[in-house]
Symmetry: C2
Subunit: 152 residues, 2 copies
DNA sequence: GTGGCTGCAAATCATTTGCATATAC
DNA sequence: GTATATGCAAATGATTTGCAGCCAC
């Protein structure tokens, strides 16, 4: 795998294409599950053992300020990162902790003015139980109910 | 000031009406600027010097789980707290750091199901420059422009 | 060359935790 | 009296910072 594409992308963003930046960008392109800084670090370190976590934070910050990625504060515990695409809501499952992309428009758009405030970016975070975990809970409850009927 | 009202409210929420809980609830009712845990602590401590910050965190967590307040993760630095009202977006000014309430409906409502995911709560965070800071920047730019014209 | 980046370790700071004491009922 | 909450101090964990050495240009 050559990294020409990522290098060119970084140059266009006005960022020096260091090996670390290429590696982080590549990781984010291949892992669209909204990883935390630590997950990026763990993932990239495999193929790049000398990588420092401080560098991961530096790179993520540079990419964020260059507009290549978005930072999600959907969870209080740790920021998550997402390759920049058209703005869309995110869903955090309180059971499994996964973050899903939601394909809906925001009510407010970047560039709008609301109540006199200039809008530069928008994030919508939705919290609840995801389809996957709902199905599991349903199955468990059905099993319990069957058990209860046997007991009765 | 009696605290009968807050005590009754706490009881209804299923929470023991301790002095600390009454004080925190009262503070939140009077300070609708979305304070951080530390701001609540500093504010309440004035009239209640023995208060511990751990207790503030405990109380905020109890109120949150009882559904009396909402926790905002609009900023990565610290959570902010808001007396529970009908859901509405919040705006964080990157210049002054203030958080404003925005009177608009969410695209997704609590209780909805989106992509099979059960929605329990929704937060919309809007980032940019607030009306107040925009006005200030405009004034400064105008002054600079006038200065530039003098220089020319 | 040299300015910007990386890597390391230490510092920071919000939040959590353990536990002895105090309080609400 | 007992279960629950508080207060203190120490622990945790994400993020930041300082700084010496390294790399891209």
């Amino acid at each position: 795998m050559d990294h020409q594409e990522e290098s060119a992308r970084l140059r266009k963003l006005g960022l020096m294409p260091t090996i670390q930046r290429v590696a982080v960008l590549e990781y984010l392109e291949k892992n669209l599950v909204h990883p935390t800084a630590d997950e990026v670090y763990q993932g990239v370190k495999d193929s790049f053992p000398s990588l420092s976590k401080a560098t991961v934070y530096n790179v993520l910050d540079a990419l964020k300020r260059a507009g290549a990625i978005r930072e999600l504060t959907i969870s209080r515990q740790a920021a998550r990162y997402d390759i920049m695409t058209s703005p869309h809501p995110h869903f955090l499952c309180r059971v499994c902790g996964r973050v899903y992309d939601i394909d809906l428009p925001h009510a407010v758009q970047e560039g709008d003015v609301v109540d006199g405030h200039q809008v530069e970016s928008v994030q919508t975070y939705i919290y609840g139980v995801c389809a996957h975990c709902r199905a599991k809970e349903l199955k468990k409850n059905t099993a319990l109910q069957v058990q209860g009927e046997k007991d009765a």
